[in-house]
């Protein structure tokens, strides 16, 4: 089995309760990393999160999930303070930081009526949560001295950063911003042992995708078009992240890595 750590160090996963974040939490726990997860769940979905946490613990690693808004400055500072306390008590550093926050406005820029048009608040919120928040987390984890000497940052992007889908405009913009931040962070942190890359997943049936109006057509297209003959799964992404978290992947920096079975070639 693939090993990333021996149960000393940690992964910090933003957006850790479903989709890519949850699958990656499981894979990295299996590979020997303790897991910090940040998620935002209401009562209806909390039982699923509790079950996930138990599953992670069954791999024999330590797990701490925070149910809070990862895009809020005060809440981020509080989580980082708690992480600092836990790691200074129990040891270990953050070896993997994954940004998989999917919370944004999905609507056309021009609606059927003027009152349905995208608003400044819609655009700014989406770009802040799904794009800019990467910078604040990476900076604060770095400033708190929490990164391992050979660390990896992964940010989840999509073909939407350079392609158009109906109602996806605000998220498209956020993905383009996210990729720019990945390049800049890779440039500023590469020399400090922190490699920053974007993972471009193919179309995957996740709770976040199901919120996109017209997702049925996206899924239908990808099932037919993907050269590897099926949709991407969260586990495909988790496997790639586990591989890229291995010490041998240290020279990959500032890249957008497609993990999509070749879908974006089409």
């Amino acid at each position: 089995m693939l090993k990333v750590d021996n149960g000393t160090n940690w992964a910090l996963i933003l957006g850790a309760s479903s989709g890519f974040g949850a699958a990656t939490a499981k894979k990295l726990a299996e590979c020997g990393l303790n897991v910090f997860g940040v998620h935002l769940d209401r009562r209806a979905t909390l039982p699923k999160v509790e079950a996930l946490v138990e599953e992670l613990k069954s791999f024999g690693v330590k797990v701490k999930y925070f149910n809070t808004n990862a895009a809020d400055d005060k809440k981020r500072e509080k989580v980082i303070r708690e992480i600092k306390e836990i790691t200074s008590r129990e040891g270990g550093k953050i070896k993997v930081l994954m940004h998989s926050l999917a919370f944004g406005t999905l609507k056309p820029y021009l609606g059927e009526r003027p009152e349905e048009d995208v608003t400044r608040q819609n655009l700014e919120m989406t770009v802040d949560i799904m794009g800019n928040s990467l910078v604040y987390w990476v900076r604060d984890v770095y400033r708190a001295g929490l990164f391992h000497e050979d660390a990896r940052v992964f940010a989840m992007t999509s073909a939407g950063s350079h392609r158009v889908y109906p109602s996806y405009g605000p998220v498209s913009a956020a993905k383009a911003v996210l990729e720019a931040h990945v390049r800049q962070l890779a440039y500023e942190l590469g020399g400090k042992g922190i490699r920053v890359n974007a993972i471009q997943a193919g179309i995957t049936d996740t709770p976040a995708l199901r919120k996109i109006p017209g997702h049925e057509q996206m899924l239908e297209w990808a099932r037919k078009a993907n050269p590897s003959g099926r949709l991407t799964t969260p586990e495909d992404i988790a496997n790639a992240i586990a591989l890229l978290s291995r010490p041998e992947a240290y020279w990959i920096n500032g890249a957008v890595i497609r993990v999509d079975g070749g879908e974006d070639l089409i």
């Binding site: 935002l40 009562r43 209806a44 808004n69 895009a71 919370f103 919120m125």
Partner: protein, 81 residues
């Protein structure tokens, strides 16, 4: 819990989560238009209210809860036994 107690709890949550002045939180105040909540702000308010009033608020009900007064009525309705 009576109307006044529920109002005060909601006001405290709104002040804490949205950083608005307490006097702006009235029964008529709309969360998005008057109190400046964006959609993640609404999500956080709902989480806090579920916790405070020990209830589940389904997605389809959230859109109906536009004002502070709407939430007071909702809580009164759900907790009457």
């Amino acid at each position: 819990m009576d109307r006044k107690e529920i109002f005060e709890k909601i006001r405290d949550i709104v002040v804490e989560e949205l950083g608005v002045a307490p006097e702006k939180v009235t029964e008529d105040a709309r969360f998005i238009e008057d109190l400046g909540a964006d959609s993640i702000g609404v999500m956080e308010l709902v989480m806090k209210m579920e916790e405070e009033f020990d209830m589940k608020i389904p997605d389809e009900d959230i859109e109906k809860l536009r004002t502070v007064g709407d939430v007071i009525n909702y809580v009164l309705e759900k907790t009457k036994s």
